[in-house]
Structure formats: structure tokens, C-alpha cells
Symmetry: C2
Subunit: 241 residues, 2 copies
DNA sequence: GGGTTACAAATGGTATACCATTTACACAAT
DNA sequence: ATTGTGTAAATGGTATACCATTTGTAACCC
């Protein structure tokens, strides 16, 4: 558990699960509080299963209860917290089974993204994804797990974005957000790093060839490997690492 | 446009997009308001593109602004309305392109559901889906489009539920909610009714054979047919039916 | 020691007041 | 007739008060 103090309110820029800087759209306080809470969940400041005291947290973030309540509504709809009537909010704590289910969904979403990206990506988008891939390889050589994880996520988001299917992008982001913390934590313990790199090589090759069906297959299988890593990590944590 | 007065508050039972009666869980007023608003959107009482006046509507539904605001937050997170800072809520009005994107996502979700249902469905679940299919055939013979549509949706939800993938069920429901109104409206004009029945026959055959890959393929293709119907309907409405 | 009950405090849900921003409309100028 | 300006009303965003429900703790009894 990290002992960091609560973050100041999110300004709308960050490299969390949704990754995008929303500089163009003005945000309400409730939206900014929601973004801060997302961060706090991902980084275990608000650990899974913990109670979220609305008044306490509003005080810490120096906002009144109303935007805090609205923020918690947002997060509840996103399934990052569970709101129990008259009992308040609990940070979601996905079981291994639920993680597995989510990953199977993410697998088909990424497969669809792969197929549509192979057809629709601009050349510039391909180049950028390739550049991210090289940066990720560099972080692998440096054994910098945090940067590696973030770049890995950026590549996947880049592929989804290159599908030019906006609805898919949003739904993918939402599923990803539910999995982000678990994957972030499991990345710290990843013992199959080298195999993941090989898979990414294959992904990039199929993408550069614009081979939709092959890319779809590899990306779906890649999420199968993710399950393998994540389940190891969950198992290790449950047995008191 | 229908001229019905606003619904009284949802009690938590209904056959709208999420279909389930949540009798076991107590609901807050905000949740009940959200459910009523969903209904009003689906049934065009709140038409696409229309402004949602929070005070006006709260008055009509005889609730105060606070649960109305929370309800609108829920719907905004679900993308059924769009909340613009300082400007309020507008009912979502998905473009033809967006509908197409959503249907492609729904296609892969239903394909995954088909595969997992073929593996995981109980015999009782299969029997129930078959019963719904026969009821749907009966409504086809009676030319009862509304009942046909609802049964059709129940069959799809039944297949998703039979996958025993709870995460998939939720995500499917959410995508479906965004499409529900458009499909409901297009069902009223469906000129390819007979072909849809044939597709459903194939779906049921593959499901009963527990042939996962075949079921997946047919269900995904079925959504392709749905796009064909929906786009005809959108085109017809845009040209002043 | 364990179980039950009563009550105060904590906390969630809603209503309403107040402030901030946008919209609509009347009037003046060109 | 059209455009620009000012102002009041409408409406969104937040703060706070009040009510409803839950939780925690102390006292009592077996």
C-alpha cells in the first residue's frame, strides 16, 4: 500500500487508463473529482474493497459533498466502485473470475480493433505505433517496468484508435479501466516479460502488413497471455506475498 | 412523436433494455429516476437531440433536482445523454456512422457470447431460449411487431446470459441500451422480417448443437443484417417519412 | 464470556439556497 | 431590415441543511 497523500484535483490531463488529455472540453468539478478518484483507485490509495467515505474524502479533496456524490455516481456507472443504497461506496475488487471474464471481452474488442485498424489506420498512425514499440523495447532493456507498462498500454490504445471506430474506443477504454489496476499491479511481478515482447513483435508485424485476420488472432491470443500473467499475480497476492 | 405524459417513477421492474427485474436490490430514487428517463428516451418521449431541462423534468416526475442530477449523471456515463458543462443535457442522437460502429462492437460481443453459451449453457437455459424462439415465431405469424421485437431481444439477452460471463452481460447490456431506441424504431419499419426469422432459425440450430464457432459466426453476421435494416430505417426517417 | 438492547454518532439520500453561466428578449443604432 | 447591446430570467453547478438509515459502543442480563 502506498502512503501518498490524496492527489490534488485532476486537471484533465493524465496518463491513466483513458490516456487522453481533454484540453478542449471544459470540465465540471464532479468530472475532475471522478478523474482524481480513478487515479487513487489505480494507484491503490483507495485499495480494492475499501469503503469510500463521502464526507471524509470530500474534505480531503476540499470539495463539497455534491460534486463528490456526482463523481461517485460516475465511477459506479463505470463499475470502478460499487454504490450500495444507504451503505455508501466500496472500491470494486474484481475476483479472478471477473478479471478473466473482462479479459475475454477485452480480447474480442482488441481483435475487432486489430481488424479495423489494419483496414483504416493512416500511415502516420502506423509510424507512431511503431515508434511507441521501439520506446517500449528500450524500457525493456532498461528494466523499467513502469514505463514499459505505460507504453504497452499506449500501443494498445493506439491500435484501437487506429480502427477509427469511436464507439469501440470508448467501450475499450471502459473495460480497460476496470482492469487497469490489476494489470498495473501484475506488471510489477511479470515473470514472462520476454514472451510478451515476442508477442508484441508479432502484433507489429501483422499491423504493418495490414493483415487484419492475423492481427485479430494474435491480439486475442495476447490477452490470453495477459490472463496467465494476471492470474499468477492474483494468486501470489492472495497467498500473502 | 408520442404524446404520452411522463411515466411515473420506475419501480425497478420493466422490460426495457436491461430487461431484468431487480427485485432483490433496493434502489435509490436517483436510480429509479434514471430508469424512467431511459424509458422515456427509448419511447421518444425524450427524442434524440432534445434538451433535458433538469428543473422542468424534476417537477414533472415530482422529485427534487438532486436525484434528477444524479440520474442524468448515470445516463451520461452510459452515453444515453450528453452532459455539456453549463449547458445541460441533450438526449444522445447517434449518427448512422456511430450506430454502425456500435453494431460492429455488439457483433463481436454477441459472437463471444455465442461461443461461451455453446460451452456453458445449462439445458434449462437452452429450453427457455427455444421457448422464446417459438413465442417469437407466433408473434411473427400474428404480425405483432412490438412483441416480436421484445422477444427477439429476450432471446439475445438469454444467449448472452447463458454464456455465464457476467462482465460480458453487463457490457452487452450497455451497448444494447445505446442502440435500443434506434432498433426499436427500425423494427416498426422492418421490410426484411422473413430473412431475420431464417437467421434466428440458424442461430437456434447452432446453439442447440452447442456448436460454438458456427454460432459465433452466425450471430456476428446477424448483426450485419441488423445494420442493413437499421440503415434503411435511418435513411427513411431522414428523408421525411 | 457471550448475547441482546438502547442510544448516540456517523454516514447516506434528498431538499433547498445560493452562486455562476447561458439564453432570450427588448431596445437602440445603423 | 439587420445588427449590437444590455438586462432579466432561466438554467446549470455547488454548498449546506435536514431527514433517513446504518454503525459502533456501552450497559445490562444470562
Amino acid at each position: 500500500m502506498t502512503d501518498r497523500p490524496p492527489e490534488s484535483l485532476e486537471t484533465g490531463e493524465g496518463d491513466g487508463p483513458d490516456g487522453d488529455a481533454n484540453g478542449v472540453a471544459r470540465k465540471t468539478l464532479a468530472q475532475r473529482v471522478a478523474a482524481s478518484l480513478r487515479d487513487m483507485i489505480v494507484q491503490d490509495i483507495l485499495p480494492p474493497g475499501s469503503r469510500v467515505r463521502e464526507r471524509t474524502l470530500a474534505q480531503q479533496l476540499e470539495v463539497s459533498r455534491t460534486p463528490m456524490r456526482e463523481a461517485l455516481r460516475i465511477l459506479a456507472t463505470e463499475r470502478l466502485v460499487e454504490l450500495l443504497p444507504n451503505k455508501g461506496a466500496i472500491v470494486a475488487d474484481p475476483s479472478a473470475g471477473e478479471v478473466r471474464e473482462l479479459l475475454s471481452v477485452l480480447g474480442v474488442l482488441e481483435a475487432l480493433a486489430g481488424e479495423q485498424a489494419a483496414a483504416n489506420a493512416t500511415d502516420a498512425e502506423l509510424e507512431e505505433i511503431n515508434a511507441l514499440h521501439y520506446e517500449m523495447l528500450a524500457s525493456f532493456k532498461r528494466r523499467d517496468r513502469l514505463t514499459y507498462f505505460k507504453l504497452n498500454q499506449s500501443i494498445h490504445r493506439g491500435i484501437v484508435a487506429a480502427s477509427h471506430n469511436e464507439a469501440l474506443k470508448e467501450i475499450h477504454a471502459q473495460v480497460n479501466a476496470r482492469l487497469y489496476r490489476v494489470r498495473y499491479q501484475s506488471n510489477l511481478n511479470n515473470t514472462k516479460w520476454h514472451a510478451a515482447i515476442t508477442e508484441h513483435d508479432s502484433i507489429l508485424e501483422a499491423l504493418n502488413d495490414r493483415n487484419g485476420p492475423r492481427l485479430a488472432r494474435i491480439m486475442c491470443a495476447h490477452l490470453g497471455s495477459t490472463w496467465s500473467n494476471v492470474s499468477d499475480s492474483i494468486f501470489r497476492q492472495e497467498n500473502g506475498a
